[in-house]
């Protein structure tokens, strides 16, 4: 059956879900990408904890074991929590072991440079290298777990293979001892700086509690740290919040002229805004007339008929309209159109003047409600045909 209905068929649940997904696709993909990037960043971030390489911490990443072993072997270990303290404690016959160097301020690094005694820098920053071990540069990370000494440093030879885990490698200057080479760059560099010996180690693992018993880790750490009479273990506290000495804000870095430029730009924009904002004369508001289409009620009723598939009412209206127009053409009294008693008379008269037989005419003018949409459309065409033929007869 051809319905001829203009309205599209109801969409299925799957189609609805698909349409909703397509409209939200962009947002969903953007969110997914954001989450993936966040996870990747979190995974790649080195998991440095507060207690790592802390000589007082018994956690796996801490270094209490090393400190205790050094003490038991007769080398006193003093823990310093600031560069100032470390510089006061250091003597010409001590080794200053610096861990968590990223917490040192530039001023602290200067103090260390001025302090006497040897230095053992574990995972130093580039600033520290520049100040304390001139000529040594970072040369990128190495992921080779273990390494063989391959140098003449006594501690390295005694320790043999050492397990590093992830480690930084360095470019060593001429005259420096390069040990545990990985990818062409050493992971341990020892060099004389003035009267002191500076040892740079690219990994914290050989000093950590959990790795101390692997390979020659303990031997290396003890030999380097315990090379002199005492050890000053510097693990700087985090600078207190608000202490930004030595750091410059963006405002201080911007030249004065540029600041004035932006101030003047602001003034210019404000002036331009004032220019555009000032109207020549007011905005005039006026009441608009209502716009109601006169045929709206008829159109609304047509849509209601359609929505409720009111074929019976629609057919009634069409039939009585045609009867009203036929009756005067047939020469019958006007009242006959709505009078059921006059039905036979009208049907006979119409059938006489048209090519249709009485049964068809009766069904068209007085029949039951059409049982389908197609039947309604056919009825309207038949009524048109009847009216046309009577008019032309």
């Amino acid at each position: 059956m051809v319905t001829g209905l203009a309205a599209p068929p109801e969409p299925t649940a799957r189609q609805v879900a698909g349409r909703r997904f397509r409209t939200a696709r962009g947002v969903v993909l953007a969110l997914a990408a954001l989450i993936i990037v966040a996870i990747a960043l979190a995974a790649l971030k080195p998991t440095a904890r507060e207690t790592d390489l802390d000589p007082a911490s018994p956690s796996p990443g801490g270094s209490r074991a090393l400190a205790e072993i050094l003490r038991q072997h007769g080398t006193p270990v003093t823990v310093a929590r600031s560069a100032r303290q470390a510089a006061e404690l250091a003597t010409s016959d001590s080794v200053t072991l610096v861990t968590r160097g990223e917490r040192l301020t530039p001023a602290g690094i200067d103090r260390l440079r001025a302090a006497p005694g040897d230095l053992f820098l574990v995972q130093p920053t580039q600033d520290m290298l520049a100040a304390l071990a001139p000529g040594v540069d970072e040369a990128g990370p190495s992921f080779e777990r273990t390494g063989a000494p391959g140098c003449a440093v006594r501690a390295a030879i005694l320790a043999g293979d050492v397990e590093f885990g992830r480690s930084e490698t360095y470019n060593a200057p001429a005259g420096a001892a390069s040990c545990y080479v990985s990818g062409g760059h050493p992971r341990l560099v020892q060099l004389p700086v003035g009267s002191r010996t500076v040892t740079v180690l690219g990994a914290g693992a050989p000093l950590a509690n959990d790795m101390l018993d692997s390979a020659g880790n303990a031997a290396l750490a003890m030999d380097v740290a315990g090379a002199r009479a005492s050890v000053v273990w510097l693990i700087p506290d985090l600078p207190p919040p608000g202490d930004d000495s030595g750091r410059k804000s963006l405002g201080e870095l911007v030249p004065f002229g540029v600041k004035l430029f932006f101030l003047e730009l602001l003034v210019a924009v404000a002036l331009l805004a004032l220019w555009r904002a000032r109207r020549l004369g007011p905005v005039v508001a006026e009441a608009l007339p209502v716009v109601v289409r006169s045929a709206e009620t008829a159109e609304g009723r047509a849509r209601l008929y359609r929505a409720h598939r009111a074929r019976d009412r629609a057919a009634d209206a069409l039939r009585s309209g045609v009867r009203e127009r036929l009756v005067p053409l047939l020469g019958l009294p006007r009242g006959a159109a709505q009078d059921p008693a006059a039905a036979t008379e009208i049907v006979t008269a119409v059938a006489l003047r048209t090519t249709h037989d009485q049964a068809t005419v009766h069904a068209a003018l007085y029949g039951p409600a059409p049982d389908g949409d197609a039947a309604l459309v056919a009825l309207s065409d038949l009524l048109d045909d009847l009216e046309r033929q009577v008019r032309e007869s």
Binding site: T3, G4, L5, A6, P255, F256, G257, V258, L260, F261, L263, E264, L265, V267, A268, V269, L271, L272, L274, W275, R278, L280, G281, P282, V284, E286, P289, V290, V291, V292, R293, S294, A295, E296, T297, A298, E299, R301, A302, R303, Y305, R306, R313, A314, A315, A317, L318, S320, G321, E324, D373, L376, V377, S380, D381, D384
Partner: protein
């Protein structure tokens, strides 16, 4: 006061200086220069406060025709005024140009012509005149808005006036004032004249013939000095648009044609516009100013979005009109509104007056009734048939009360109403 774009541009150029000479003094110097320029401009700009505005031009215009309003700017100050002027009108006044440049030397006056092309009927008031007089440097301007009141009344378009000559010649046939002197129709005795060949022998006045040697005939003419009362319904149903014209405007057009015709026919025409109260009234206007008075009264009328109060309208009519008149009610044939409102009151009205109801039929309904093809079209046709049947029933019921009903599409309403009036007049029913 108003700033100009030139000032902003200058300030932008000034941005470069502090980079070249980074000092507070540079910036302060730039600002000082700008401020000095603004101050100089404000001091030297023509004085807008002293300007005097005069208006002249059209005060009324038919809808659809252009109007001209002149604004004369007089400068009694001592300095020349070079300024940008905007004559502010409501948007529906269609004022052009939007702004004009004026250059008025001291002690002289200049005229600015504003062309109005109104888009709607009603009164259009000039809102204000804004003048911006820039200084010699063009950095700042003095600006002021001043009242210069003027009103342009936009009158109904009256497009059906083209039907008037045809209807008047029909009227002349009725009255016997035609070039070919035939016996006029009507019942009122007009005059006696000599018999000429072709005169109806039934109109020979034997008594007068006996007194004279000639055969004398009586002539008749339609009744004169009858009263017409035109009632415009301005309630909610008059707001409905047929095509793009509100029903009220179609009704006005028909009322104007009927008024013009009836006043020429020697009848007295009154007008009442009513919804819940009297919106406009024209009573006792002389034949010559009737049309002007009607048009002026109709111009500001707008459809009110309230249900019309039929009882109030009927009582207003009955209290006002003592003499038997033709009451022409221009309204919408809405079954629901009529059954509750006017229908029960019609006997009161028809007992004393002849009542005629004129209504605009919507061609869209006829178009819908003829639509065929798919299901939606057939339902449209059914709904339109239903609307027509309801209207037909209402018309039949009104006719049973003895009311004349004129129901025609917008273009035909005015001539159809005029014809109905002429038919009544010919039949001597007034």
């Amino acid at each position: 006061m108003a700033l100009t774009g030139r000032l902003g541009l200058l300030a932008l150029l000034g941005c470069a200086l502090p980079i070249l000479l980074p000092s507070w003094w540079t910036l302060l110097a730039v600002w000082a220069v700008l401020a000095a320029g603004v101050a100089a401009d404000l001091a030297l700009a023509g004085n807008v406060r002293a300007l005097v505005f005069h208006r002249s031009g059209d005060t009324s215009v038919r809808l659809g025709e252009p109007a001209r309003v002149a604004l004369t700017v007089e400068n009694p100050g001592r300095r020349r005024v070079r300024a940008l002027l905007r004559d502010v009108w409501p948007p529906s006044a269609g004022a052009t140009p939007r702004t004009a440049r004026i250059d008025v030397p001291a002690g002289e006056r200049r005229r600015v012509d504003v062309a109005l092309a109104p888009t709607r009927r009603g009164d259009r008031h000039a809102v204000t005149v804004a003048v911006r007089s820039a200084g010699p440097l063009g950095l700042a301007a003095r600006q002021l808005s001043r009242e210069a009141p003027w009103r342009v009344r936009v009158l109904p378009a009256f497009p059906s006036r083209r039907h008037l000559p045809a209807k008047l010649s029909k009227l002349r046939e009725l009255t016997g004032n035609h070039v070919a002197m035939v016996r006029g129709q009507g019942t009122e005795f007009d005059s006696l004249r000599e018999y000429v060949d072709g005169d109806d022998v039934r109109s020979i006045d034997w008594r007068a013939t006996a007194r004279r040697a000639d055969v004398v005939v009586r002539t008749w003419r339609p009744e004169r000095d009858r009263r017409l009362y035109l009632v415009l319904d301005t309630g909610r149903t008059s707001a409905g648009r047929v095509g793009d014209v509100p029903r009220l405007d179609c009704s006005m057009d028909a009322a104007l044609l009927l008024g013009a015709l009836a006043s020429r026919a020697g009848d007295r025409v009154d007008l009442l516009a009513y919804d819940r109260r009297v919106r406009a009234r024209v009573e006792g206007a002389s034949r010559t100013d009737l049309l002007t008075a009607m048009v002026q009264a109709m111009a500001p009328l707008e459809p009110e979005l309230v249900e019309s109060d039929a009882a109030g309208m009927v009582s207003a009519l009955l209290s006002r009109v003592r003499q038997r008149s033709l009451v022409v009610l221009l309204t919408e044939l809405n079954e629901a509104a009529f059954e509750e409102g006017l229908l029960p009151l019609l006997p009161q009205l028809t007992a004393r007056h002849i009542v005629m109801i004129a209504s605009v039929a919507d061609p869209r309904v006829a178009e819908m009734a003829a639509s065929r093809g798919d299901l939606a079209a057939v339902y449209d046709a059914a709904a339109a048939e239903r609307a027509r049947a309801e209207r037909g029933r209402l018309v039949a019921e009104l006719r049973s009360y003895g009311v004349e009903v004129v129901d025609a599409p917008p273009d035909d309403l005015a001539p159809a109403l005029a014809d109905a009036y002429l038919a009544l007049k010919a039949a001597g029913r007034l």
